[in-house]
């Protein structure tokens, strides 16, 4: 063992109880930091996963980010145009066949086109406002998680028979309708059409369960009197992180607004960053407190070992060796605390992962706490601990190294 390390070990081993307290202080800090990070990261990952899974990665709609140039602007030197009213308010993606064929040629994932129109669902004497969404079931299956959310019937039932509709269980409850009942859909154009309820879904999102009705695309086109029209293309990518690139390219080519999921949830993602900053600030604060424990013990050791410092310097140890010695002692406590903290953190995370509970209010079952098992959390917590230990060790080490051996030797004699 190198001499300095040898001396460092004897120093800290000679103060067993104090060393143990300091090590436990660091271990508790590291352990709780790891557990907290795992829990917070787990919650964040789970949240983002829900976000990514439930919504399209790229959503192309028939909107445009900037208003179209008006013919009047080409003729007159206009300053501003206001109060524009379209002659025909039937928007939609122009030439949808070409658009989908182009997307098909390069999209690294799946997509589904749809026509969303506002309308009313009637059953008996009750009415509920709804977004009536026309979809191609086979394509929809590739982009929408709703396929997995059926409590009665199934998504496949949309294909079986001409006029089937899938509605949320909350909407069904408000209408008083059930599986197999026939409802009437009234579009904003005033057209009506009867549909048989072939499935009830429950997504857990009230707005969807209460306000969405899925029909075949051609039925939605008929209901809104817009043959062959679509007004939305939803894309699911193999790699969700590529969404901004895909959205940018699609928007540049098609001219329609293409929104990546990151853009759509920008404020939420920013909030998550802020949450992480808060988390690591708390971790830093915990480690700072643990650092005080280390400072205390190293400071005590340097005070008690002043005579040893003097004699080592008189033997020919330079100041740098003295600094190294006590810095090493601080790091040894930090290292031992980190190792113990890893074990503590792992145990706490494991214990948390065993906790199971239900949230009955929404009827949704949440079987366990979302936990992120990441080596990075251990490394970050240890880095904080060792950094704090290094500072806590260095300050008294620097003071000890500057001690004048003559003063101490004179004091002893």
């Amino acid at each position: 063992m190198p001499l300095i390390l040898d001396i460092a070990v004897t120093h800290i081993a000679g103060r067993g109880r104090q060393t143990l307290v300091a090590v436990i202080g660091v271990a508790v800090g590291v352990g709780f930091s790891i557990a907290m990070a795992a829990l917070m990261q787990g919650g964040q990952d789970d949240f983002v996963k829900q976000l990514v899974d439930t919504m399209p990665h790229v959503d192309i709609t028939d909107e445009q980010r900037t208003a179209r140039r008006q013919p009047a602007e080409d003729i007159f030197s206009t300053v501003a145009i206001s109060g524009l009213r379209p002659r025909d308010d039937r928007r939609g993606i122009i030439n949808p066949t070409a658009a989908t064929a182009w997307l098909e040629s390069w999209i690294p994932g799946r997509f589904a086109e749809s026509l969303k129109t506002q309308g009313v669902i009637r059953y008996s004497s009750r009415e509920v406002g709804a977004a009536i969404i026309g979809v191609e079931p086979e394509r929809e299956r590739g982009v929408s998680p709703i396929v997995e959310d059926f409590v009665k019937g199934s998504f496949a039932a949309l294909n079986a028979g001409g006029n089937n509709v899938l509605i949320g269980d909350t909407m069904a409850g408000r209408l008083g309708a059930g599986l197999g009942d026939t409802i009437t859909a009234v579009s904003s154009e005033g057209l009506t059409r009867d549909f048989k309820i072939a499935g009830l879904f429950h997504t857990g999102t009230t707005a969807r369960d209460e306000g969405e009705a899925y029909v075949l695309l051609k039925n939605a086109q008929i209901l809104s009197a817009r043959p062959n029209a679509i007004n939305e293309i939803r894309i699911k990518l193999d790699d969700p992180n590529r969404a901004p690139v895909v959205a940018h390219r699609a928007e540049a080519e098609l001219g329609y607004k293409a929104v990546a999921w990151q853009e759509a949830n920008e404020s939420i993602l920013q909030a998550l960053v802020v949450r992480n900053v808060i988390m690591y600030t708390v971790v830093g604060a915990i480690m700072l407190v643990a650092g005080f424990g280390i400072y205390n013990i190293i400071s005590t050791i340097t005070h008690e070992k002043a005579r040893d410092i003097a004699i080592m310097k008189s033997l020919g140890f330079p100041e740098a060796d003295m600094r190294r010695l006590f810095l090493l002692e601080g790091l040894a406590i930090g290292g031992a605390g980190s190792a113990l903290g890893w074990a503590l953190g792992f145990s706490m995370i494991y214990a948390l992962s065993l906790v199971r509970f239900e949230i009955a209010a929404t009827g949704q079952e949440m079987t366990h706490l979302p936990i992120a098992w990441s080596l990075l959390h251990y490394i970050i917590a240890s880095a904080f601990a060792l950094g704090s230990a290094a500072v806590a060790g260095y300050l008294p080490a620097r003071r000890a190294a500057r001690l004048n051996p003559v003063d101490i030797i004179r004091g002893a004699t």
Partner: protein, 226 residues
């Protein structure tokens, strides 16, 4: 005999509110294989001079040469290195590292210097301790040894790196007469048998008289014996 250590007008002043002169204009030469006593009344500056000679303290003015090399231009690391290889210290109190055994204490300067292998260090430590009558106490820690034994371990440690000059500050000051005589004899043998130079600060005038030369200090100045 050639000069092992030389000083020229060595002065040490403590920069207090009222400056205190510890050592003033000391010019002396320590030759090889010389056994020199530094005597003087309490507070006369004997130990201060010894610390200056041992490069533990820095003079306010004046020069020191050890082995022909001037100490003033040396940085802190070079001074430490010089202490490690050229000088051995024996203090009034043993100043052994309490957690280490007698053998380990003697090995420490050798381990720091790093010239020998681990087994060579062990062999040399055992040989030094045995030659000082501590062959049966190699693995004992300082608290398991008597005062005389501890001081002999300190002497063995001062010899660990085979330095040409041993500086001893009241080496027998805390020992009874029997142990004092034993330690004095050991120091004498270092000079006569091992060819070392020994400079010892002492209050014991009888002991000083038995040394090769006596330098008497009064008020920081050499009163006699330079």
């Amino acid at each position: 005999m050639s000069a092992l250590l030389e000083t020229e007008k060595l002065t040490r002043v403590l920069p207090e509110t009222v400056p205190v002169t510890l050592v003033k204009d000391v010019t002396l030469t320590i030759a090889e294989k010389e056994f020199v006593a530094i005597t003087g009344p309490s507070g006369s500056g004997k130990s201060s001079l010894l610390y200056l000679l041992g490069l533990l303290d820095q003079p306010t003015t004046g020069t020191i040469k050890i082995g022909g090399r001037a100490a003033e231009p040396m940085n802190e690391r070079e001074r430490a290195r010089t202490r490690l290889s050229m000088l051995g210290f024996v203090f009034q109190f043993h100043f052994l590292l309490p957690e280490f055994t007698a053998r380990e204490n003697v090995e420490i300067p050798m381990r720091k210097l790093g010239r020998l292998t681990r087994s060579e260090m062990r062999g040399r430590a055992d040989e030094l301790l045995s030659s000082l009558g501590l062959g049966d106490h190699l693995d004992k820690r300082p608290d398991q040894l008597s005062g005389g034994q501890r001081q002999r371990v300190a002497v063995a440690r001062s010899l660990a790196n085979d330095p040409p000059l041993i500086l001893a500050d009241e080496p027998t000051g805390s020992l009874d007469s029997k142990n004092s005589e034993q330690v004095f004899t050991i120091l004498q043998k270092l000079v006569h048998q091992r060819g070392k130079s020994v400079v010892a600060v002492t209050h014991d005038l009888d002991m000083a008289e038995r040394m090769d030369r006596r330098i008497h200090i009064v008020d920081g100045k050499i009163a006699a014996g330079a």
